[in-house]
């Protein structure tokens, strides 16, 4: 009987407390992430208007967004966006730029080699390791699976 009430109470607490936060976080992530992607679409359309091909446009959009992400991180604005946006600020490519500038800035006093340059890759390093590694495997798998 006691156990039941405990369980019920726990259920009650779990239901009451975290859900509104989850919902609010999800909505914020959706809005911020969606807005960053819409900004990407604006840049994409502007670049397309210069008669560039698809690949050049894609690369150009990434470069501009990475520039904006780095700049806003340097100015301290991206952290504020991240505070509200959560994954909405982390997942877009601007968040990748943020993950480079943020730790590099933080550890500048350790010097330009082991401080800035090394810390730049504290998150970007794993991203490149897994991204490049797995994409090479994809290419090799493609060769193996299509050569029969």
């Amino acid at each position: 009987m006691d156990k039941m009430t405990n369980k019920d109470y726990q259920k009650f607490v779990e239901e009451k407390i975290p859900k509104p936060i989850y919902l609010k976080n999800a909505i914020n992530a959706f809005l911020i992430g969606g807005l960053i992607c819409t900004l990407g679409q604006v840049i994409r359309n502007i670049l397309f208007s210069y008669n560039l091909d698809e690949k050049t446009v894609a690369i150009g959009t990434s470069i501009i967004l990475i520039f904006l992400g780095s700049l806003l991180t340097g100015l301290g604005i991206y952290d504020k966006i991240g505070k509200h946006g959560g994954a909405g600020a982390t997942v877009p490519i601007t968040g990748f730029a943020n993950s480079i500038v943020s730790p590099a800035m933080e550890f500048k006093r350790e010097g330009f080699i082991f401080g800035v340059a090394a810390r730049m890759f504290i998150i970007a390093g794993p991203v490149l390791v897994y991204g490049v590694g797995s994409s090479v495997i994809m290419g090799i798998l493609y060769i193996i699976l299509t050569k029969r």
């Binding site: 976080n25 959706f30 809005l31 990407g40 604006v42 959009t61 994954a87 794993p126 490149l128 493609y142």
Partner: protein, 118 residues
């Protein structure tokens, strides 16, 4: 219309990340790497392409789009130059973004200082 599609697709991808962040003990770094690998795999098996066609920047701006670029480049390289192409293609396709991240990241980190948190 394409702005709305980009907003919806991009927003949805970020919501998935937010739900994983809230429900598990994974950190944003895990999310970045995880979404990247998912992008590589979906790009490799050709499932990410339709999402890019539909959502455009909504699919290419999230980090999974970076993974898609890597694996598409690697597979295109493999088609053109065989095994060597599989090694060079991915980075070739993503080179612009990586070079920009390194250059801009370095410059911004050198010229600016962390803001005190309030």
């Amino acid at each position: 219309m394409e702005y709305l599609k980009a907003f919806l697709v991009g927003g949805s991808i970020c919501v998935i990340g937010q739900i994983i962040l809230d429900r598990t003990k994974l950190t944003p770094a895990h999310i970045l790497v995880g979404f990247l690998i998912i992008g590589v795999i979906l790009g490799g098996i050709g499932w990410y392409e339709p999402l890019v066609k539909f959502g455009e920047a909504g699919a290419t701006v999230p980090i999974s789009g970076f993974g898609y670029t890597l694996s598409r480049g690697s597979i295109e390289g493999a088609k053109a130059k065989g095994i060597i192409g599989a090694f060079t293609g991915g980075l070739e396709a993503a080179a612009g973004g990586i070079a920009a991240a390194i250059l801009f990241g370095y410059i911004m980190a050198v010229v600016s200082n962390p803001k005190t948190k309030d």
